[in-house]
């Protein structure tokens, strides 16, 4: 049992010592999250956004790098999945490890600004004139502008022209047509329709055009109008024209399903168009989100990500980040970025020129004009309502609760503290 074994132990000891040395060596970079000393010259800034999709990430990286260059800094650009951005930002805020430049979905800005984690942009002398009213109001908290978005967007119905033609189905304009078309397009290994019904804010965002176009309101979720909208989604899953997996799909997944030909239609945003255009086999079209009755105009949510300068210990870093932010939101760049992502420039003058230049984009410019700001009514309480909405979507689509029950519960969540 007991045997003298000096050699292996010495070997272990040597290995342990080696490991220790390695640890000590590497911990030299502890807390090295880009903490340039306050006095020294700022040579790089950190940037966080949720553009994880490869081509999107690359495009943003290029713009950020270019803007960094004009500000005289290099950019450390990180992207995390949309659903994990807010929890991460909250943790970074509490631990004072926020990036120098932070992107937020416009609906989350007020909540984050309320925590005191962001700095108002006026202190950097950034001019906020000329931006469309909707997106500017979304970027404002208690009278101060905290975030600016280069472009805005909203969701629409994407469809495969080939699949619709093959099935002899017209582009659906109403809910009834949508149900019929989706059923007609469903085949073995392919669904007719796809939405994001995940337990994240993304599904609340996708649900809003259905809720709002039917006269529902985020202030009061337990209404018949809301229940009818939710019932539409439930019906699509129940009759098999929408995969039950929508419960786990993010908008990126929905796009992947569409691109792979596994769904004939989907709800998504125009920022996917670049990726769709890369795929030569894809013959796709886009239409407004179907409405309850013929002739109605869909009410859609205003999308677009605002850029913010979080609090940090170094004023110099904040200043550099603000310079990059201003550059991203300059008139030429809003145009370039909007063109790249098939979205609408947030500066009204630029948007008007944009619509003149490219008539196909006029449709989008118009749809965005009517889009509603999610925080318009509820302000910092919107995330609660959004949580209630996606909870209701999940409960109803799994069949755990009827749409009415689920929305009653959603209203409780929205008004809880």
């Amino acid at each position: 049992m007991i045997s003298p074994a000096g050699r292996p132990v010495r070997r272990i000891a040597a290995r342990l010592a080696g490991a220790m040395a390695l640890v000590l060596a590497t911990t030299g970079c502890v807390g090295g999250a880009g903490t340039g000393s306050a006095t020294g010259k700022v040579t790089s800034i950190t940037v966080l956004d949720y553009y994880t999709q490869r081509s999107e990430h690359t495009q943003w990286n290029e713009v950020l790098t270019a803007c960094g260059k004009t500000a005289g800094v290099t950019v450390e650009h990180t992207s995390v999945p949309p659903a994990s951005l807010i929890p991460r930002v909250l943790r970074q805020a509490s631990s004072r490890t926020l990036p120098d430049l932070l992107m937020l979905d416009n609906a989350d800005l007020q909540q984050i600004a309320q925590t005191g984690a962001l700095t108002p942009l006026d202190q950097y002398g950034i001019d906020t004139n000329g931006f469309a009213e909707g997106i500017l109001s979304a970027g404002t908290y208690e009278g101060k502008v905290y975030g600016l978005a280069p472009y805005v967007s909203t969701v629409a119905l994407f469809y495969s022209k080939d699949m619709l033609a093959e099935a002899g189905v017209a582009v659906p304009r109403t809910w009834d047509e949508l149900k019929e078309a989706a059923a007609g397009l469903t085949r073995q290994g392919r669904y007719g329709m796809a939405v994001d019904a995940s337990a994240t804010f993304e599904s609340s965002w996708q649900f809003l055009p259905f809720l709002w176009s039917n006269g529902g309101h985020e202030k009061r979720l337990d209404t018949p109008q809301a229940a009818q909208a939710l019932q539409l989604w439930v019906d699509l899953v129940k009759n098999g024209s929408m995969s039950k997996s929508v419960l786990n799909w993010t908008q990126a997944d929905v796009h992947d399903q569409f691109a792979a030909g596994r769904t004939a239609m989907m709800i998504n945003g125009p920022w996917r168009i670049a990726a769709l255009n890369n795929d030569r086999n894809m013959n796709w079209g886009v239409a407004p989100v179907p409405v309850p009755r013929v002739g109605q105009v869909p009410v859609t949510p205003l999308g677009g990500e605002v850029w913010t300068v979080p609090q940090s210990s170094s004023k110099d870093r904040q200043k550099k980040a603000a310079e990059v932010l201003a550059c991203l939101n300059s008139a030429p760049n809003t145009l370039t970025l909007a063109e790249q992502h098939f979205t609408v420039p947030s500066r009204t003058a630029v948007a008007a020129r944009y619509a003149e230049q490219d008539p196909t984009m006029a449709v989008f410019v118009k749809s965005v004009e009517g889009a509603r700001v999610r925080t318009g009514e509820l302000g910092v309480r919107w995330p609660k309502a959004a949580t209630g909405i996606y909870t209701a979507i999940q409960s109803a689509l799994t069949g755990e609760q009827t749409p009415e029950e689920a929305l009653r519960h959603a209203q409780e969540i929205a008004t809880s503290d």
Binding site: A93, A199, L397, E400
Partner: protein, 327 residues
């Protein structure tokens, strides 16, 4: 083999006094003198580890209790203010539907996992009890699922169980067992079954290893005696194997419960607690409240529930293992 000797030595430790038989006097003398002089020096061996354990277990336990009486929100955390709110967190968390649902899910997850792991683990252990060519190699390869990081196993299973594109449903369709496929990750009850199955898969090797060790410690002459008395395999399991294995069984079960109750990785990776919160356990709720919603006070309440639960079982474990070693 190795483990048998370990068990034997462990048990013999209780009779350690036996070694002092012939040199008890020397022993006592030798020990008394140094203790007076080196008491402090001796403790220095323990102090670093003790300090570490106090800092990394003692402090968190106390801190969690304190936090459960404070109100943390996204705002107060940034400003560093967390006012005391008495029992408010407890009343809110414990009265919510989500809590009772999480308790039920936790119990189902734990009981389901333990039953599956134990029964299959015992079956494997009995199978490996008789040596056959390659049995040693197969037995050690069997440990692999248990050694893989849970995140890895979870990711792989999530990929395999995908209702539309996963291999499991493809196989079911191919064998004409299910035409539409099972909604492994999208049905509320199916998702719970899925995470239980995955956890069983992870736990089988551990159960097999321990129970196999227990089986090896049953003296073979007892089986031979039972055989001479005309006992078949069932009878000899019933009257020889099971009674002698019981102490090890109770250790396995209690340890299994304590480890399963706190499982987080698999659920977070495979289902994220969904769909519709169907796989949300106390542990995942605690994580979400604290680190997703930043309600550290309420998260701490659930953490405390977990601690009470685990410590209750820890006491059971201590009793069980003491019995296991003194049998």
């Amino acid at each position: 083999m190795r483990k048998r000797s370990r068990l034997v030595t462990d048990r013999s430790l209780n009779f350690r006094t036996g070694t002092g038989r012939d040199d008890g006097g020397v022993d006592a003398r030798a020990r008394r003198a140094p203790r007076a002089r080196f008491g402090l020096a001796q403790w220095m061996f323990v102090v670093p580890a003790g300090a570490y354990l106090l800092l990394f277990f003692g402090y968190p336990l106390v801190k969690n209790i304190a936090m459960s009486f404070q109100q943390y929100t996204t705002t107060t955390f940034y400003t560093g203010e967390a006012p005391f709110v008495g029992l408010q967190n407890y009343s809110k968390v414990l009265s919510a539907n989500l809590f009772s649902q999480a308790v039920i899910t936790t119990v189902l997850f734990t009981v389901g996992s333990i039953c599956g792991q134990f029964v299959l683990g015992l079956a494997m252990a009995l199978f490996f009890q008789h040596r056959f060519p390659l049995s040693r190699a197969l037995r050690s390869l069997l440990l692999l699922p248990w050694l893989l990081p849970l995140v890895v196993s979870g990711t792989t299973w999530r990929w395999m169980l995908d209702p539309d594109t996963g291999v499991v449903n493809a196989a079911l369709r191919g064998l004409h067992l299910s035409s539409s496929g099972v909604p492994w990750l999208t049905g509320t009850s199916q998702a719970l079954v899925s995470v239980i199955l995955i956890n069983i898969w992870v736990g089988i090797p551990f159960n097999t290893a321990i129970l196999y060790g227990g089986l090896l410690n049953i003296p073979t002459h007892l089986y031979e005696a039972a055989k001479l008395d005309g006992a078949g395999p069932v009878m000899s399991f019933r009257y020889v194997t099971w009674p002698l294995l019981r102490p090890v069984v109770s250790v396995v079960l209690v340890l299994g419960v304590v480890y399963t109750v706190k499982v987080l990785d698999i659920i977070l990776v495979v289902t994220g607690g969904g769909p519709a919160g169907a796989t949300e356990t106390i542990a995942t709720r605690a994580y979400e409240l604290s680190f997703q919603q930043f309600e550290f006070g309420r998260g701490a309440v659930l953490s405390n529930v977990l601690i009470v639960f685990s410590l209750a079982f820890a006491l059971l474990h201590l009793r069980a293992s003491r019995r296991a070693l003194t049998v």
